[in-house]
C-alpha cells in the first residue's frame, strides 16, 4: 500500500515538474521536450497504477509520438531565433496568472471534501475488449464523426498552411 503511494508520489512529482517545465522553459523546444516527458510519465502512470494499458499505449503513440513530435517539427521548420521565441512576460500578467491559479486551486480544495473518501474499489482493469465494444456500439456515431473531424482537420491544415492553393 505504502509502496504504491510512494510510486504514485514519485510519478506525480515527475509529472508536475515537467508540467512546470512546459510553462517556464524559455526556449519552445525545451517546453516541447518537457511536455513529451510529461506525457510519457503519464503513460507510465496509466499503465502501472491505473490499469489502463490501452490508453497508455495510445498516449505514447499518438500524443507523444505524433502530436508532440509534430510540434517539434513545426518549431524546427520555423527555426525561431533568440528574441523571436522569447516571451516578454510582464510581471503583472505573471502575478495575475498565478493569482487565478491559486484562486481556482483553493476553490477545488474547498470542494474536494466530496472525493476524499473515494477509495479504489478493486483492481480489475478495463481491457481493450471492453473499450472496443463500446466504441463500435454505443459510441459508433461519435467515433465516425471524430474520424470525419480529423479528415476535415487534415484538409483544413493543408489549406491553411499552403501559401497558395
Amino acid at each position: 500500500m505504502i509502496g504504491w503511494y510512494i510510486f504514485f508520489l514519485f510519478l506525480a512529482l515527475l509529472i508536475l515538474l515537467s508540467a512546470v517545465g512546459v510553462v517556464v522553459m524559455r526556449h519552445p523546444v525545451y517546453s516541447a521536450l518537457s511536455l513529451l516527458f510529461n506525457l510519457c510519465v503519464t503513460a507510465v502512470m496509466y499503465l502501472a497504477l491505473m490499469g489502463a494499458p490501452f490508453i497508455a499505449m495510445i498516449q505514447v503513440i499518438v500524443y507523444a509520438g505524433a502530436i508532440v513530435v509534430f510540434f517539434l517539427f513545426v518549431l524546427m521548420l520555423m527555426n525561431l531565433k533568440r528574441g523571436e521565441y522569447e516571451d516578454k512576460m510582464g510581471p503583472w500578467r505573471i502575478v495575475l496568472g498565478i493569482g487565478a491559479f491559486l484562486i481556482f486551486l483553493l476553490q477545488v480544495i474547498a470542494l474536494s471534501g466530496k472525493w476524499k473518501g473515494w477509495v479504489h474499489p478493486g483492481s480489475r482493469g478495463v481491457g481493450i475488449g471492453e473499450i472496443s465494444r463500446l466504441l463500435f456500439t454505443r459510441y459508433v456515431l461519435p467515433f465516425e464523426l471524430v474520424s470525419l473531424l480529423i479528415f476535415v482537420a487534415a484538409v483544413g491544415a493543408v489549406a491553411l498552411a499552403k501559401k497558395r492553393l
Binding site: 512546470v20 500524443y63 516571451d87 481556482f104 472525493w115 479504489h120 482493469g125
Partner: protein, 101 residues
C-alpha cells in the same frame, strides 16, 4: 494500487491548472499550444481515474476522443500558426489582434 481516486484528482487539477497558468502567462503561440495539450492531459488523467473508479470503459473511450480532437486541433493550430508566422513574422500572440473589438 488501492490508493483511491483522490490523489489522481488532485494531480489532474494541478496539471490542468499548470497548463492554464502557461496559457495565461506565455505569449509564444506554440508554447501556448503545448500548454493546451497539458490541460487536455490533465483532463485525461481525471477521466481515466474515474473510469477506474466506476469500473467502466466509457471514460477511456472519451479519452480516445479527446486525443483525436487534440490531434485535429494541433493540426489546425499548427497550420494557423505557420500561416500567421508567414504573415506577421512571429508567433507572438499579441500580434494577433485583428479581431479585437
Amino acid at each position: 494500487m488501492g490508493i483511491g481516486v483522490f490523489p489522481y484528482i488532485v494531480l489532474s487539477v494541478l496539471v490542468f491548472l499548470l497548463g492554464a497558468l502557461g496559457l495565461m502567462i506565455r505569449r509564444n503561440a506554440i508554447v501556448m499550444f503545448l500548454c493546451l495539450e497539458l490541460m487536455l492531459n490533465g483532463v485525461n488523467i481525471m477521466f481515466v481515474a474515474l473510469s477506474r473508479r466506476m469500473c467502466s470503459a466509457e471514460g477511456q473511450v472519451i479519452v480516445l476522443f479527446v486525443m483525436a480532437v487534440a490531434a485535429a486541433e494541433a493540426a489546425i493550430g499548427m497550420a494557423v500558426i505557420t500561416a500567421f508566422y508567414r504573415v506577421r513574422g512571429g508567433v507572438d500572440v499579441d500580434r494577433a489582434q485583428l479581431m479585437k473589438w
